[in-house]
Subunit: 209 residues, 2 copies
């Protein structure tokens, strides 16, 4: 019988980790040293879906190399999320002024949250299969008041998340609805991950703790 | 200055409590003794949205009466969720055989998750305002294999939830997407609750801990 597979999440995102844990998988977390901004500039001609998938692949590849000695039988999943809105592809705002500006621009509007996914399978420390894909979900933003936007930005939550909003935190008050997969908006699509795991020969239910 | 309002969740659902806590509100939980099945039979002519709203209202009303002495300045929110699928309105399956049957019927199909909401405001122990409404969200179910359905039902998770699935647990692997508000599917719609709170004169950001 084969060694049991270790699931490795190639991301520092606590939201992605929480999605996987709630869904029955408790992964090892290993964060890649990939310089996303530099990589993104080399992919200037990519479509938004190609860009997030390439970034996810870079993270999964880097982590697969890092952990192959310690976890020779593993399935690694990397993700990258961005919001496509008003013809722009935006990541984390990083500061309060940028988060405020983003909410003033997007309140009452719609955007498309893209999450790229890449899976690498290791057997005896060797890459035996890979799979990747992107999930796109439409977000319909509410129209919070000036006071509500100020209060939300004041919590600090929107500063460090793609598109300056969350679904699984206080941002949820200000999203009227979505069309697509909610787990992809939080950061890792469960149905897409299930399909990518199947592509590399892993049944997700076999990984449940 | 008025006394600070206490938020009361009129529901035993850990999923609803978790949604509110993640979104910055830590409510008091008070469960009503409303007999949902008996009440539902008296509402045989109601539309699905009217039915879940009436059930939510019955829970919020009962809890408002229960807690008025202890929490005279409070805003109470009650909810009720059901899945409308194949012309039927279904609640919790309750046993493994029913959960299995439901998944065999709904795999690969779509349903509509309805959540009724009712809000009651108390000032000095007196009801001063009420508001209610329902949120409807389309669910596109994946097509899990026979083995996956058996594994999912075996976890026990689907037995005690409306429609035999969750979005925020293992069920998330088997939902390809939704059209609507994900928090309403988990059990309490944040954007609708925000609007209902506003109708009774309460700004949701003023309740954030």
């Amino acid at each position: 019988m084969a060694n049991p597979l270790v699931v490795v999440l190639a991301s520092a995102s606590p939201a992605r980790l929480a999605v996987l844990r709630s869904a029955g998988i408790d992964p090892v977390v290993s964060v890649s040293g990939v310089d996303e901004d530099t990589l993104a500039t080399t992919l200037a001609d990519a479509t938004p879906a190609e860009l997030v998938t390439a970034l996810a692949r870079a993270k999964a590849d880097a982590v697969a190399a890092d952990i192959a000695a310690e976890y020779p039988d593993a399935v690694i999943v990397g993700c990258d999320s961005m919001l496509h809105i008003g013809g722009e592809l935006v990541g984390k705002p990083g500061c309060a002024a940028a988060a405020l500006g983003r909410w003033q621009a997007m309140a009452g509007g719609t955007g498309e949250l893209l999450t790229g996914h890449a899976v690498v399978r290791l057997d005896h420390g060797v890459r035996t299969a890979t799979a990747s894909g992107a999930q796109s979900t439409v977000i319909r933003f509410s129209k919070p008041s000036t006071e509500e936007i100020a209060a939300y930005v004041g919590t600090g939550e929107p500063l460090q998340v793609a598109g300056a909003f969350t679904l699984d935190g206080r941002g949820g008050w200000f999203v009227d609805g979505i069309n697509g997969d909610p787990s992809s908006v939080i950061g890792i699509s469960l149905p897409l991950t299930r399909r990518l795991f199947a592509e590399v020969g892993v049944a997700v239910v076999s990984l449940w703790s």
